[in-house]
Amino acid sequence: MAQTIWLIPALPLVAAAVLMLTGGRLASRSVAVVGVGAVGLSACIATIIAIGFMRAAPAGDALSVTLWHWMTIEGFAPTAGLYLDPLSLVMMLVVTIVGFFILLYASAFMEGDEGYSRFFAYMNLFVAAMLVLVLADDLLFLYVGWEGVGLCSYLLIGFWYRDAANGLAARKAFIVTRVGDTGLMLGLFLLFTQLHTLQIQPLMQAAAQTWPQGSSFASLAALLLLIGACGKSAQIPLQTWLPDAMAGPTPVSALIHAATMVTAGVYLIARTHVLFALAPAVLLAVAAIGAATLLIAAFAALNQHDIKRILAYSTISQIGYMFLALGVGAWSAAIFHFMIHAFFKALLFLSAGAITMRLHHEHDIFRMGGLANRLPVAFWSFLIGSASLAALPIITAGFYSKEMILSAVWTGGGQVPVLWAAGVITAFVTALYIFRAVFIVFFGEAHTEVTGRDLVRIVLPLVVLSVLALVGGFVETPGLFGGVTLFTRFLASVFPPTPLPNGQAEGLLLAVAVLISLSGIVLAWRLYSRPAPQFLAWTRQPAIIAWRHFFLSGWGFDWLYDRLFVQPFLALVQFNRLDAVDSFYTGLAILARWLHRLLHDSQTGRIRWYAGCLAAGSIVTLAVAVLR
């Protein structure tokens, strides 16, 4: 069984290679078969392996397969190996299964696009890289996957490259995440020079043995890894690239910028949680970053009018929840929310895509309206996704994962009640902003006519993801709702148990969660379903409009970074155009041109002139030789 793990990342990689080498010469039907089939096949293998793993857990609750030795240098022998434990198993299942349904959807969504084959080549390359990232047993091999997904993200954001704005968004995503990647790379250097290995399990053991709790090396290494995680997972201060990344096709946003790649930072921290546990200060920073990000992104989402940007800010905000959970040491809660978030956010993006492709690619929610009856499938799936995101009590999966995080924050971050308050306020704003979108898009007057019809390949993924977004949460429920702990027990060999409240506190927290979610939805209904005149008048006050613009621009981070980094950099570049090093080489060029002009005039093409020069030269040479 263990010997077949390598097939899981290899199949999409082979499909990507086939699609790249044929370069669009395949018929679109065979492109879809290759592109979707490869990921489907690896989803099947992943499921079989997972079932085998759960039936009879291997020794140590982990499988380790060394594929090959990368290189062997004195004291440095990294291996390319795969490591399958419950954590990477969950990640692998989400990536392959959600990935398969998104690709199935994409095979209909991208129909007729001239880059159909290129799209599937990139998507398969992405899935392969993401699987390498989650399955790698060595941080260096993980870094290969890490950069691979970054590259695919860049390629797919700029997929419609003829529009210059898309290329700009792709470059921005690449450069901003590169800032984080540099931090990660420095972190790897530090870990290697101090602990002499990058293999994750021995590395974690060595870290726990070598470094005492709170030592400066452990803190520095954890901080550098955190910078990398912030870049990839779009957390403050490196969150600005994600809203612009929506320039890519919708299935890309669903797979890369919602379900999988942007949670790589969460995975990295969870994977190296032993190191983070050694650095309490950094762990607090993780929680603080998560809390700040989720609050800021939720307010930004409340004021967007592009449906995909709402979902983008929502993704940033939800990953903030995962960071918050990681920061208080609730590792399994973070991974649980990652899984549920992958289900409902992929569902939300796909149903948003199902709406826009029927509305001539209209993205503005104020130009939609009244779609509930005309697009029933998209309506129900978007509604289920929104309910799960808003943590509608009991029936949705999002309720269980978010509730778990909030109770873990209540117990774990007890000294810092601000963290819990931020989580609760955001839960309210989340329900408000997503149901604002629901009421504006699906109710009220229609503004744009609907064309086309529902395709099976569009509907099937929506149905499957809807079911997952509803029932996915029943693998882990709080004590008052049956106390199922399948998920945490499954991850018990990877993570230490999360302290959760019980008794009265648990009941109180549940009541707060239920109340917050419901009141958010009700308020959204009151405000946006049939807006009262007073509310509309209030939103049109100059001060409120200024605030709305501030939130719309994502709290002005783009403006700030433009002033702080981009403009000074451009000024430096401008200044550096005439720098000293350059001027020396320019001087050489000018001298050469000047000499060229001098000799150029002597080349008259007249043979008599040449003969004369030859004679004069001979005479001078002779004169020198004789008279010297």
Binding site: L599, H600, D601, S602, Q603, T604, G605, R606, I607, R608, A611, G612, A615
Partner: protein, 102 residues
């Protein structure tokens, strides 16, 4: 046989060479330029003969035979080139053949 003084003979050779060179530089007609080159070659040959007779060595005459052969070959190639140029440019003016100017 009364021998010619070396110095006077050399002056004659130099004069002949200078006349030939002047002809090459000043004449524009290809045929005259070719003839001037012949004069220069003969001047050189004369210098070899004089030197050979002065030191009583046969080398000078051998060299003259070489120069004679060279001159014959040079005339053959030169005349062929002149005919080609005449076909191409419809003139024998060497200044008209300045297509390779910089």
């Amino acid at each position: 046989m009364a021998s010619v003084p070396l110095q006077q003979a050399m002056i004659l050779a130099i004069l002949l060479f200078a006349l030939g060179l002047a002809g090459v530089i000043m004449r524009r007609n290809f045929v005259f330029m070719l003839m001037s080159i012949e004069i220069m070659l003969n001047a050189t040959g004369l210098a070899f003969i004089i030197a050979g007779s002065r030191w009583g060595q046969a080398d000078g005459q051998v060299m003259f035979l070489f120069i004679l052969t060279l001159a014959a070959a040079e005339v053959a190639v030169g005349l062929a080139l002149i005919i080609r140029l005449r076909h191409r440019l419809d003139t024998l003016d060497s200044d008209a053949a300045n297509l390779l100017q910089g």
